[in-house]
């Protein structure tokens, strides 16, 4: 049993980073992840980590410096959100194609405009195709656990990783979490064994690949990316053996016999679990599927849970302009095409810019599901909730 501590999630994230003791952290402040950087720089100033801290002049330079350090075989981390992640966009793609296992902590926040500093999933959704592993935590405990796991996941997969938690709702909430000792963390993540380093070989990194080679690079990257799902499962199991907290790509809550399953990501899962408990007590067969691994999509795991449901209600704290639904719905809807008989499916866009989602909203969604047609057939409409009409 590890010890329990109470901190704001941002502080806990910095605490996890300090236990990892990365070689290089290059970072730039942005609400709601600023505190991660601030707290971490205290660890640096007090000599509690051996990290070289690079307080860069922008997020673009933060991720560029991280990538540079990764090419030198260093273990590298940073933290950001929203506009910061958006500013990094160009380099995110290059980092994944460089197979640089950088770990980035994101306190997810709305994207401007209008400018809004509160939590939603637009920032991580906007970079979903950058070739990064993206994990989303429900609460402080999971945020801590994901950050520790991010190192072996990224280094085994040889892909960069984002571990996110919801801005303000989670980032600024004080919660009790069980933590490991630093030595245990060090043992779990192991010493850094870089795949390559400019200090060891005369490497040419960042070549120009033309029509005769580019697509081969990309196919290799795509194939290796597909292997990430198994690595996340494996690391989640190893972490469970150490801590008793086992993790998978998804988390099921009362889904086995559920007629209506809600799919959700992030802090809303906590609220939804309460509603599930209430509705179960009332005799309704409702359940919850929480997505932990947003990218790559753990398609088989998702289908295995949803295949027996009569209705699937996908909750998106993000949306796509003119798409067939929110980012989660698009994926899940596409994944369900493999089934001979699709359950009723509906998409709910909610909580943008930190708008509160209440148990009553969630109950309403479940009730919509319970009323829905049984058997094959689905509802592709997108409903906005938690919005003033």
């Amino acid at each position: 049993m590890g010890k329990k501590i109470a901190m704001e999630t941002n502080q806990l994230a910095a605490f996890a980073m300090a236990q990892i003791d990365p070689d290089v952290v290059a970072a730039y402040p942005i609400t709601p992840s600023t505190e991660v950087v601030q707290e971490f720089s205290k660890y640096v100033a007090n000599g509690e980590v051996t990290t070289e801290f690079v307080p860069v002049e922008s997020e673009h330079s933060a991720i560029s410096a991280c990538l540079g350090a990764a090419t030198a075989g260093a273990r590298v981390m940073t933290a950001t959100a929203s506009q910061g992640l958006a500013l990094m966009n160009e380099i995110l793609h290059i980092a994944s194609s460089s197979r640089a296992p950088i770990s980035v902590v994101v306190a997810s926040r709305a994207l401007s405009g209008p400018i809004n500093i509160h939590g939603d999933h637009m920032d991580i959704s906007s970079i979903r195709d950058a070739g990064w592993i993206i994990m989303v935590a429900e609460d402080a405990q999971e945020a801590y656990d994901n950050i520790i796991q991010s190192i072996p996941i990224a280094e085994r997969a040889r892909f960069p990783i984002i571990t996110s938690y919801d801005g303000f709702i989670t980032s600024h909430a004080v919660e009790v979490a069980e933590v490991l000792e630093k030595e245990e963390v060090q043992k779990f993540i192991g010493p850094k064994k870089p795949d390559y380093s400019v200090f060891e070989d005369k490497l040419t990194i960042g070549v120009l690949a033309l029509q005769d080679s580019y697509i081969e690079f990309k196919r290799k990257q795509a194939e290796d990316y597909d292997k990430v799902v198994d690595i996340v499962k494996q690391v989640g199991k190893e972490y469970g053996d150490l801590t008793g907290r086992y993790y998978d790509t998804i988390e099921k809550y009362m889904t086995d016999d559920a007629e209506v399953i809600m799919v959700v990501m992030g802090s809303t899962a906590g609220t939804a679990k309460v509603v599930v408990d209430q509705m179960r007590a009332e005799g309704h067969k409702v359940g919850l599927l929480k997505i932990r691994l947003f990218r790559p999509v753990p398609k088989d795991d998702i289908i295995s849970v949803l295949r027996t449901a009569d209705a699937v209600m996908v909750m998106d704290r993000a949306f796509t302009y003119g798409g067939i639904g929110g980012p989660l719905f698009e994926e899940i809807s596409a994944a369900m095409n493999d089934l001979p008989c699709r359950p009723y499916m509906a998409n709910y866009i909610y909580g943008l810019g930190g708008r509160d989602i209440k148990p009553s909203h969630i109950r309403q969604v479940f009730e919509d599901g319970l009323k829905a047609v049984k058997g094959c057939g689905f509802d592709q409409q997108i409903k906005w909730i938690t919005v003033r009409e």
Binding site: D23, E52, S64, T71, A72, V198, F199, K202, V207, L210
Partner: protein, 338 residues
Amino acid sequence: MANNFNITLPEVKEIASRGVKDQPFIGGHRLCAGCNAGTIVRQVLTAAQSDEYQIVVVNATGCLEVATSIYPYTSWNVPWVHVAFENAAAVASGIEAAYRALWRKGRLNKKFRFIVFGGDGGTYDIGFQALSGALERGHQLLYVLYDNEAYMNTGIQRSSSTPLGANTTTSPAGSVIPGKPQMKKRIVDIVAFHRIPYVAQAIPGQPFDLMKKVRKALSYDGPTFMAIYSSCTRGHRFPPEKSVEVGKKAWETYYWPLFEIEQGQWRITMKPPKKLPIEEWLKMEGRFAHLLKPGNEHIVKMLQEAVDEYWDYLVRMEEMTKEKGLWTWVPPLTRQKI
């Protein structure tokens, strides 16, 4: 901090006798015939070679980068990293930070120096912020600007380095607007006033001056900068065999003076035997052809005045800082000795 570095350059004969395997930058690349970017890299890396440390090169996107790293080939016989156009200084910052961290943690025991090559676009314009940040943070890196005064890789568009009146594809010499309407940005001074230890200007046509400056720059465990004039046959429009001569003419007309600023002490390192009028250089390059036609005399005059003004400034700065530099390079308090 006094700089006690002993500057000795290898003998020309010795350099010439080096085999391909010992050369940091090898031929076969796709730079245009007569491109001075390759010449600059050769001179810089030849001067940089040392028994004391190894080199890591970071390259910004641009002609030099694309022409030397076409998969599966490379011209780089030193570790070389390219990430993007605007972030070479930030990438180098990260590599340098990793170097210090790994050294401190006992995971590395080889010494390194870091050299960045960036074009004018990647330095004056889109990479300006990343450069300024890296200079302020005090990383060890020699940032080499190869200045061909336009975005050549994308087809000769104007940059803030392009001189007044020059014909580029986004500042075309038209019937109303005679080429670039603005003056060239003075990057060397802007960089120097980050209070960094060493800044210099050079041309490949004076290789020993250039190479000495490289050695001097690398003797500092901090950020240093060199602006090197890079003749471009395509963008400046002259025959390939003239490229060194054209660069020398830029110096002889005082357009591109050879000087250095060491801890705020200005020094003109090589003065041309005779100052030539600016037209002597302008007439060698197609990008200025329209300026020499009747009606544009005022632009030539403005260019000449800018040259005279800058030279006057240099002479005054040299005189003023003869006894004492304007600043002392202060490394970050956290700088550990490697």
